[in-house]
């Protein structure tokens, strides 16, 4: 068994295929759990019970809903632009999966001679990669909105463009201090590491900040974390930033004209994106899979995965909590928060942090 696994994971093709299949299965499972998780948590926050019939604590509810959507008739309105209308749900799923592929969900596992990284691919420009792919994610929403040939989806699509462009800038600027800090830390150590690779970023957080406090980047970069998380909530079109699909104003926004499994694909993509942004926040700021107990016998390799999931679900709980608490922003409030608050704030913080780092590395300017 070990020999077989070792052989499989030393062949790039097989290890790539296995990782892709496992990642797909994991994300599907995550989406199933996450939908149920959100419904239950929101229900408790609103003093309701939530889905509790299918399976233990209602955990199979999403599966039932998914099957129902799968067998429903896919209604296609007459005025749609057929090609783009059919392509949009697929275009929503692809970026969601691609982003997950660069996130390390656990420590590298050793099987015999082979070392298996629990990550699809360790890119040396992973930070830029997630920005690039998330900037492509907007196409799904825009194209769905436009190709539906009806006015509510179109309004949703136009809103999505403006919103995503605005918050992408803040999100990118919030990540620059992370790279600055990481490259300062890398400069002392091994020169072969890329300051933008997620595996390196997690390794760099394994030290200690002050005494028993772990060296997670959030303690150095709390403003960056807050800006990133806010922008990420906006990027995933979650309440209070859900103007793109504001049901009380524009019915369902971009997915108004979708039904059956095409609607389910948008839905899945949204929940996978939620998981992704929380996982990225955990990887960049909260130490990723780092945590005690990774040297236990037999189950040692599962412990980092456990810590990764605990941290990610803590952030997801926060995300659901925000949704259940805050009312939706008005459009002008959304724009002014993005352009007049978050972007200037992140610029000031970036300059401040860069000056402090430069001071530490090169000494005071008058010497």
């Amino acid at each position: 068994m070990t020999d077989l696994l070792e052989k499989l994971f030393t062949t790039p093709l097989w290890s790539g295929l296995i990782k892709a299949v496992v990642a797909f299965a994991l994300l599907m499972l995550t989406a199933l759990i996450l939908v149920w998780f959100e419904r239950r948590v929101v229900a408790f926050m609103q003093n309701r019970i939530g889905p509790n019939r299918a399976g233990p604590f209602g955990v199979l509810q999403t599966l039932a809903d998914g099957l129902k959507l799968l067998f429903k008739e896919g209604i296609r309105p007459r005025k749609v632009e057929v090609g783009l209308y059919l392509a949009a749900p697929v275009a929503a799923m692809i970026p969601a999966f691609l982003i997950f592929m660069v996130i390390p969900i656990g420590a590298p596992v050793h099987i015999g001679e082979a070392t298996v990284t629990l990550q699809g691919a360790d890119l040396n420009v992973a930070v830029l990669f997630i920005l690039a792919i998330s900037s492509l994610a907007v196409y799904a929403v825009v194209l769905a909105g436009w190709s539906s040939g009806s006015k509510y989806p179109l309004l949703g699509g136009v809103r999505a463009t403006a919103q995503m462009i605005s918050y992408e800038a803040a999100m990118g600027l919030a990540l620059v201090p992370v790279v600055v800090l990481a490259s300062a830390l890398v400069a002392d150590g091994d020169a072969g590491l890329g300051a933008m690779s997620f595996a390196t970023l997690v390794d760099l957080q394994s030290g200690s900040f002050r005494g028993p406090i772990p060296g997670w980047f959030v303690f150095w970069l709390l403003p960056s974390f807050l800006i990133f998380f806010t922008a990420a909530v906006a990027e995933t079109n979650r309440a209070p930033f859900d103007l793109v699909e504001a049901e009380s104003e524009i019915v369902g926004g971009y997915h108004t004209e979708y039904s059956g499994f095409r609607f389910a694909m948008f839905f899945l993509a949204e929940y996978i994106n939620m998981f992704n942004v929380c996982a990225i926040a955990v990887t960049l700021f909260l130490g990723g899979w780092l945590g005690p107990g990774a040297d236990l016998p037999y189950i040692g390799w599962l412990v980092p995965v456990f810590w990764f999931l605990v941290k990610t679900y803590a952030l997801l709980f926060l995300l659901v909590w925000i949704r259940a608490t805050l009312p939706r922003f008005r459009y002008d409030q959304l724009m002014s928060l993005g352009w007049k608050r978050l972007i200037p704030l992140s610029l000031v913080w970036l300059v401040l942090f860069a000056v402090v780092r430069a001071w530490q590395s090169f000494g005071a300017p008058w010497r």
Binding site: N124, V125, A132, S135, V142, W146, L154, T161, G172, G194
Partner: protein
Amino acid sequence: MVELVLFIIFAVAAVFGAVTMIWARNPVYSAMGLMLTMFSIAVFYVSNGAHFIAAVQVIIYAGAVMTLFLFVIMLIGVDKAESRTENLPLQRPVALALMILFGAGVVIAGRSAWVTGITPAGTVPVNGSIEQIGDKLFNEWLLPFEVTALLLIIAAAGAIALAFFRDEEGQG
């Protein structure tokens, strides 16, 4: 082998996108064609080891610029297909002449050494090329870089000023 297959797939995609961009009657399809071309070019950058350039290409061109194009197209009105009347006189002969010129340029460029794919030893970026690009940009080419930034700001400020000015005059 993998590289060749990727090249063929994305070269076809790039050309298809470019042709779509010119041929499509609906501006949204034109924008999508251009997006496909930009993305395919990013894939070429990746297969040449220039990961940083590829990421920037996707973020700026496929992400920001094309999204803004789509935004503008949707704001101006998506139902109107492009008008097919030609307003420029002599458009076709000039286009033909330019096409011949461009074709000649491609042929000449294809014969010279710097596109044959031979890389001089020691210039292949090892650890991504971010450090090298940053080093060049902020040391050797700092002045041109800053001047470009200034130009872009002037252009943006000018565009805003023009838009506001026309609104005040009531001609906008």
